[in-house]
């Protein structure tokens, strides 16, 4: 018998020993970062960067496959006991000796996860990880000239690139409200002092928003450069338009952080994506009734919110709990009780 077959036999036997749990449920008690476990990480340190941003150093579990500069990682953090998932760019270089990865988080107003990470996260905390993802990365072949166009926390994926590979000719235009809001400012200025980077800081509190037309003056040869841009939608929209107008859109790479903002409203169009049905729903009728009327096979039980027999994944949009008025927004893994939830704006129910 091959060793793999032997191992799988042994595992089967172990499963018989631990049924109805799995051997991993017990192993997780002692070794949550081991190979073969669900991917997790442990926070090892939290370093403040600016008044509202911090870098989190994470020791990933053994299953971590490593990242490419510019990629992001989705992390699941328990905030007030609730597991929430967010994506953050990786700011550490790919060749860190100790295998740690870093993300840099800027606390956004009312941001549950970002505020938690920046202000409350403690070393030693376990978090959930996904494998790194994203195609906002550098190409295999080094471009001769590079432009990084960033704003706010849009600098984070670019920092991952800057720390990873040196280019001969790199220019960066970075926007932030005030000098003290520039994340990684000291490090950037060190790079400038070492002549490894040419940097233009745009301080929007005093200079106003960056007008993309000013690029001609800030970086006269911008059109010859391979450009990576990351920041708020306004900046990226303007950049995309600008590059397209010059017919060089293939030289612009952009990364958008929050692709869709959920606007919680009252009622909306409900899509039952597994069945492909779409219907209009008001803000007061339970989604269970809406689905049933549309002929969708909906699981149900008590129909009054106590049995959890009706829970269904919410894939997109937002719903309102008819009992408490609380809004729940779609996130991976979010399940709702359809018998006591109504549409709060357009939403997608996996049925």
């Amino acid at each position: 018998m091959t060793s793999a077959a032997l191992r799988s036999r042994a595992w089967k036997l172990l499963e018989m020993v631990t049924t109805p749990l799995l051997p991993s449920d017990y192993l997780d008690l002692v070794s949550p970062l081991r190979a073969g476990a669900d991917l997790r990480g442990r926070i090892e340190a939290v370093h403040p960067e600016t008044g509202d941003a911090a870098t989190i150093v994470i020791r990933p579990g053994r299953g971590w496959r490593g990242h490419t500069a510019g990629q992001y990682v989705r992390i699941g953090v328990d905030v007030d006991g609730v597991r929430l998932w967010r994506a953050y760019s990786i700011t550490s270089p790919t060749n860190r000796q100790d295998g740690r990865v870093m993300i840099t988080v800027k606390a956004i107003p009312d941001g549950k996860v970002s505020n938690h990470l920046v202000r409350r996260a403690k070393p030693g905390t376990l978090i959930q990880l996904d494998q790194p993802a994203g195609d906002f990365v550098l190409p295999q072949a080094k471009p001769a000239k590079v432009l990084y166009l960033t704003a706010g926390s849009g600098i984070t994926p670019v920092m991952g690139m800057l720390r990873d590979i040196e280019f001969d000719d790199v220019v960066m235009v970075h926007c932030a409200p005030r000098p003290q809001d520039v994340i990684f400012r000291n490090e950037l200025h060190d790079l400038v002092a070492d002549k490894k980077l040419r940097l233009t800081e745009v301080h929007t509190d005093t200079d106003g928003m960056l007008d993309i037309a000013r690029l001609d003056e800030l970086v006269p040869d911008w059109a010859e450069r391979e450009t990576w841009a990351c920041g708020p939608a306004g900046l990226l929209d303007a950049a995309e338009k600008h590059w397209t107008e010059h017919g060089i859109q293939e030289r612009l790479h952009t990364e958008r952080f929050r692709p869709s903002i959920v606007v919680a409203g009252d009622g909306g169009e409900v899509t039952f994506s597994s069945t492909g049905k779409t219907v209009d729903a008001d803000g007061a009728t339970p989604l269970l009734d809406i689905g049933e009327e549309a002929g969708v096979l909906m699981p149900s039980g008590c129909r009054m919110g106590i049995c959890f027999g009706c829970i269904t994944p919410l894939k997109a949009g937002a719903v309102r709990d008819l009992r408490t008025g609380k809004i729940t927004e779609a996130e991976p893994g979010v399940l709702i009780q359809t018998c006591v939830s109504a549409a709060a704006g357009p939403c997608d129910i996996e049925r």
Binding site: P20, L21, G81, G301, C302, M304, I306, C307, G309, I311
Partner: protein, 372 residues
């Protein structure tokens, strides 16, 4: 359905007001759920797993009597924790708000021969929705016993103290059979129903795994302690079964608990539903350890009002709920475990005989039961 309705003094408005007050209690707990609660359930789960591991480890040496005692006691407690404070409550969705896929009503499986999903259906949906409604809530006597004067007596009921005792010893199998609605489904026609067969198969699989683990694999692993480990796991299962059966009997069977007619729940309002839960359940008083070992089902009244609130909050909720009982002059049925167990058993014995006072029987109710 007792001769005198103990809620007769309440007006419809009062009942709705009561409902709103209960909703407010619920909202407050929901708004306050957080890190501490999450830490609580994680701690309980990890303690249970460690206790089970250690106990099974000790049983490897169970040929040595003190090890047998220690291991059996530990395993019994671990199994009780798994079923009560952990399994029952997670399967109620009490911890779903944490969004942790490992501690979620849709993924949890427990150390019990009834598969989680079947139990969730019969317990969460049928029992909790139709609490104590004759003909709708099968928990009322589990379909094998007569637990209210208004249920028709049959000579079969003479044996019910014995059925109840056997059910207590093999409670998890009783529950599995009950979740399958075995009595009803063994009829020739229904037996062939593919849906029933699939469910029966699932139960068979679960039983096989559980039996294999407790009565074959672990004893075998113990080598020379084979027989003593076998005896230990059997004892632990027995202890767990009798314990959970006792706790559960205390929830709805003691004297003073009301049952309801099918008709009475037609068009039931939220307030009336709450009221039915209040009158249909009974608590067990006692220490913190006692509440923990019952999976906080000692707070059965609070659990029935708010089945999806985290169990660690029932104690604080109970204070407020009890105040409402007083305010609305309702009887809060509670007492120490021995008293409640005695009371429930007393009822089982008493109702194994036909009613002493036949006037309680009303013909239309009979018809209704037959129709059910």
């Amino acid at each position: 359905m007792t001769a005198i309705d103990p809620t007769a003094h309440l007006t419809a408005e009062q009942i709705e007001e009561l409902g709103r007050e209960l909703d407010a209690i619920r909202d407050e707990v929901i708004a306050g759920r957080g890190e501490k609660d999450a830490a609580y359930i994680r701690k309980v789960i990890s303690a249970q797993r460690k206790l089970e591991l250690v106990s099974r480890g000790v049983l490897l040496f169970s040929f040595f009597p003190p090890a047998w005692l220690l291991g059996t006691a530990g395993l019994s407690v671990a199994k009780i924790m798994d079923n009560m404070e952990i399994g029952h409550n997670i399967l109620h969705g009490q911890w779903d708000w944490m969004r942790d896929p490992k501690i979620h009503s849709t993924t949890w499986e427990w150390d019990h021969v009834s598969p989680s999903d079947q139990w969730k259906h019969s317990h969460n949906e049928l029992h909790h929705t139709y609490t104590n409604v004759i003909g709708k809530d099968n928990d009322l006597g589990y379909g094998i016993m007569r637990v209210d004067e208004d249920q028709k007596w049959h000579p079969f009921h003479l044996g019910q103290p014995l059925w109840n005792f056997i059910n207590a010893c093999f409670f998890e199998y009783g529950i599995a059979a009950y979740d399958l609605e075995l009595g009803k489904n063994l009829h020739k026609r229904r037996r062939k129903n593919p849906e029933f067969r699939a469910r029966a198969k699932a139960v068979g699989r679960k039983i096989r795994k559980q039996v294999l683990k407790d009565y074959v694999i672990h004893p075998l692993l113990s080598g020379p302690s084979f027989l003593t480990t076998l005896a230990a796991t059997f004892t632990a299962n027995l202890v767990r079964n009798i314990w959970s059966h006792s706790v559960i009997m205390c929830g709805h069977f003691p004297e003073g608990v009301q049952v309801f007619e099918r008709r009475s729940i037609k068009g039931e309002t939220r307030g009336q539903w709450y009221l039915r839960q209040m009158m249909g359940s009974a608590n067990i008083s006692g220490s913190k350890a006692m509440h923990f070992m019952t999976g906080n089902l000692s707070h059965q009244i609070e659990h029935h009002l708010f089945p999806d609130l985290p169990s660690n909050r029932y104690a604080e909720v109970a204070v407020k709920v009890r105040a409402l009982f007083e305010k609305y002059e309702l009887e809060y049925v509670t007492g120490p475990l021995p008293k409640q167990v005695f009371s429930a058993w007393h009822k089982v014995f008493r109702l194994s005989l036909p009613n002493k006072n036949p006037k309680v029987k009303t013909p239309d109710r009979e018809q209704e039961l037959v129709a059910a």
